[in-house]
Amino acid sequence: MRIAVLVTYVPDTASTIKVGPSGKAIDEAGIKWIISPYDEFAVEEAIKLKESKGAEVTYITYGPERDQQVLRECFARGGDKGVHVVGTGAAFGDAFAIAQILTAAVKKAGPFDLIFAGVKGVGSDQGLVGAMVAELLDIPHVASVTKIEYGEAGITAWREIEGGQEVVEVSLPCVITAQKGLNEPRYPSLKGIMAAKKMPVESVKVADLGLDEAALGGATCRWVSLALPPAKSAGKIIHGEQDPQAAARELARLLREEAKVI
């Protein structure tokens, strides 16, 4: 069995995010990059499958030079091959452009029986890439999966839906996007970290895939501006020591007129 895992590097959720000078991207200075947490479930699922049934696991990422590190971090957990589509930045953040580039990379490195991705990339949180890749490859996909059973011909996947669960049978090849709960990602071992740097990574340019990154980027979607959420304004304290009834009246008035919640 051949498995591809689509992975991406994202800013650590513990980093302090600032908007960069362009107003359309974050300021990357001082940012710590981590594997997108949902991708960790995807990686774990692939490695578990390799361990239990035997499979070859290929990690594929699209991103700037530094993103080769995300492949190393995946290798520290397991896996066999890596493909790094080195981007210049033109299509970063554009889900459809990214999906087209990854699809081309999947085709080049494939064929694959199973493609895992995270349900969404933490940070931009669009949740589009996995499904788009499936569509572009013209294969089925199951999104937001929390449990998988592997059968002879296909797989059964449990996915979260509003207020319940949906159980889906799907034939291979297919794309699965991983949701929290699918498994418990392992911690890399020291041996794994040491072995990671020796794992083969194929570095390709977008042009090598027959695509024009600049033309793809922003063709269907552009980032117009980014802004931090407004700072929380200070809470209002109504002092009620002297006249609790007046304070209660004032509270009710504010809830009705200012907060408009009653």
Partner: protein, 613 residues
């Protein structure tokens, strides 16, 4: 709050201050690149914060328990210990031949800081497995090495060091445990050991005790001790487990801190059937044991530093959110809002003094670990020189870092006010857990005696002269620097005091008494001087980097507003800025104490000896 480490400072000390990258060019460490080490540090931190730290509170509240003659560890420790083992973390610095990962010691020190800070009780079990395994690797027969070492390095089997007996605490030479040679070459061990860390636990399937015992007719004192490998469960020739080896756990201590670490009384041979294997030769026991104790002493110092660092991170976060009192610029304004206590100068003082001490302790421990690495990649005279540095620095690491580590936990508790005294916050646990470091592995009093009686006079005092010579070089380098001039001169003055005392003391008729009375303050003086030297050296480096960052960003340092804004926006700049101030703060607040203590020592003040006690 989640467990936090000061990764920025750890990386500064490892990669910007120490020439760790040069180590990686040596053959021994050539399989590691800087990028690998950074990943190793990040993953170790993650494991410490996400897996070890969450079990720390249960370790304290539930504790290790003694049930039906056996120790039961806090339930949550099992999975955390398993993850430590699986990742290969226990023996990260040990030799690859037996499954170790062969990382440089200096990196191991950083990793172990994270583990001790996250959960010292659990990390102690790992320390002992690796330490005891190392001794067997170094001095065991091929057969023993094959049977034991790999399983101890992986954490599958635990280890202990058994020195202490009721009448033999600091006075190890008073041990009575006996070892009698049998016809098959093995020894029958009988006796009682107390205070044995991890003497029994249920995390590992076997425990390999290293026991100091006396053979028949052996001379009195430490010279009569031999060292034995005593498995809890006998091990068959093929490595599988056999029958229990007649080692009984009599009970565990109820104690101030490290509740998750069982401190056991062990009875060897209650049925006269406890088998031991001699390690090395008879009567060499104490000498061999020191090969486990010396690294362990540095690790105990590291425990003090690690808990101090953890306590500081907690206190710092708390001080940012606890609202109390008015801002010092508006003290008379009764309508002024309450401010986070981090605005109060006194709270800032407690935090920043802690900050400076933690970094000074870390520097001492990292520098010493780096010298250990250097002994492994050099030969001949050069190697001897590094070895002599490690020997002098070992008792200083142990005692100085454990004493000041404990005090830092006290200051950090103070930052929490009344809440710090309660179990609602971890401050009080850090304080209780940290105290043990000044006691075990040889009390700090014994460390100071080791320093003044053995280590300072070694090689006619050359090693200590060279180490203090480095501090002298820092003084000379910075004495004309406008910003560091006064701290540098204070360092120079403190060095002069140490030199005067070293020269003058032995000439006095009451020298022995004066030395014994003052060994602890004297060790402290040397620790203070080294700490100030490290911090000043780091500060000079940090300042260069800070200025370069300012220049790069086009920030005029004299423009106070712009500079402050720059520090607020740029975490690296703020870190370097703090380093500069930490060194100055430490010099002013600590170095005068060196001079003050020197006054008492030179005066020959004898109150404790004159008093009727």
């Amino acid at each position: 709050m989640a467990y936090q480490v000061d990764m920025r400072d750890v990386k500064f000390q490892l990669f910007e201050w120490l020439p760790t990258e040069k180590l990686l060019q040596t053959e021994r460490f050539s399989q590691w690149a800087k990028g690998d080490l950074e990943m190793v540090l990040e993953e170790a931190y993650k494991l410490a914060a996400e897996v070890l730290a969450p079990t720390n509170k249960e370790g304290d509240r539930v504790g290790a328990r003694f049930v039906d003659g056996k120790v039961v560890m806090p339930p949550s420790f099992r999975e955390a210990y398993q993850k430590l083992c699986e990742g290969g973390w226990i023996s990260c610095i040990n030799s690859p031949e037996f499954g170790g990962m062969g990382l440089p010691e200096v990196v191991g020190t950083a990793i172990n800081e994270f583990f001790f800070g996250a959960n010292i009780s659990l990390a102690l079990t790992a320390l002992l497995s690796r330490g005891a395994g190392y001794l067997i690797e170094k001095f065991g027969s091929d057969e023993m090495r094959k049977l034991f070492v790999e399983k101890m390095y992986s954490g599958q089997w635990g280890g202990t060091m058994c020195l202490t007996e009721p009448q033999a605490g600091s006075d190890v030479g008073a041990s009575k445990t006996r070892a009698v040679k049998q016809e098959n070459g093995r020894y029958l061990i009988s006796g009682e050991k107390i205070f044995i860390t991890s003497g029994d636990q249920d995390l590992t399937e076997n425990i390999i005790h290293l026991v100091l015992a006396r053979t028949p007719g052996a001379p009195a004192g430490t010279a009569g001790l031999s060292l034995f490998v005593v498995p809890k469960i006998r091990v068959n020739a093929d490595g599988s487990l056999g029958q229990p080896n007649d080692v009984q756990t009599a009970g565990i201590e109820h104690k101030l801190g490290i509740h998750g670490s069982p401190t056991c009384s062990l009875v060897f041979g209650p049925n006269n059937a406890c088998e031991g294997f001699l390690l090395g030769e008879e009567l060499q026991g104490m000498k061999l044991m020191f090969h486990m104790m010396n690294p362990a002493r540095i690790e105990v110092g590291l425990q003090g530093e690690a808990l101090a660092s953890a306590a500081l991170q907690e206190a710092w976060q708390y001080a940012k959110v606890r609202l109390q009192g008015r801002h010092w610029t508006r003290l008379k304004d009764h309508d002024a809002p309450q401010v986070p206590i981090i605005e109060h100068p006194d709270v800032r003082r407690m935090l920043f003094t802690s900050y400076a001490y933690v970094q000074a302790m870390r520097a001492l421990l990292m520098q010493t670990s780096y010298y250990i690495d250097m002994t492994r990649v050099t030969e001949g005279e050069e190697q001897e020189r590094y070895q002599s540095y490690v020997e002098v620095l070992t008792p200083i690491c142990k005692a100085w870092a454990s004493d000041w580590g404990f005090r830092v936990t006290e200051w950090c508790l103070q930052v929490f006010g009344g809440y710090g005294y309660t179990q609602e916050y971890p401050a009080e646990q850090y304080l209780r857990d940290a105290k043990i470091a000044s006691i075990y592995e040889g009390t700090n009093g014994i460390q100071a005696l080791d320093l003044v009686a053995r280590k300072l006079p070694a090689k006619n005092g050359k090693p200590i002269r060279e180490l203090l010579g480095q501090a002298e070089a820092t003084f000379k380098k910075l004495r004309n620097d406008p910003q560091f001039m006064e701290p540098a001169w204070m360092l120079g003055a403190a060095l002069k005091q140490i030199e005067d005392i070293s020269k003058g003391l032995t000439k006095r008729p009451d020298a022995v008494m004066v030395v014994l009375l003052n060994s602890v303050p004297f060790l402290d003086m040397i620790g203070d001087v080294l700490g100030a030297h490290f911090l000043l050296e780091q500060a000079a480096l940090a300042r260069e980097k800070l200025w370069a960052l300012c220049q790069e960003a086009g920030v005029e340092r004299k423009d106070e507003g712009a500079y402050k804004q720059f520090l607020a926006d740029n975490a690296d700049a703020a870190f370097y800025h703090n380093k500069v101030h930490a060194a100055i703060h430490f010099a002013y607040r600590v170095l005068p104490n060196v001079t003050a203590r020197a006054v008492a020592i030179r005066a020959g003040e004898m109150g404790p000896m004159e008093a009727v006690l």
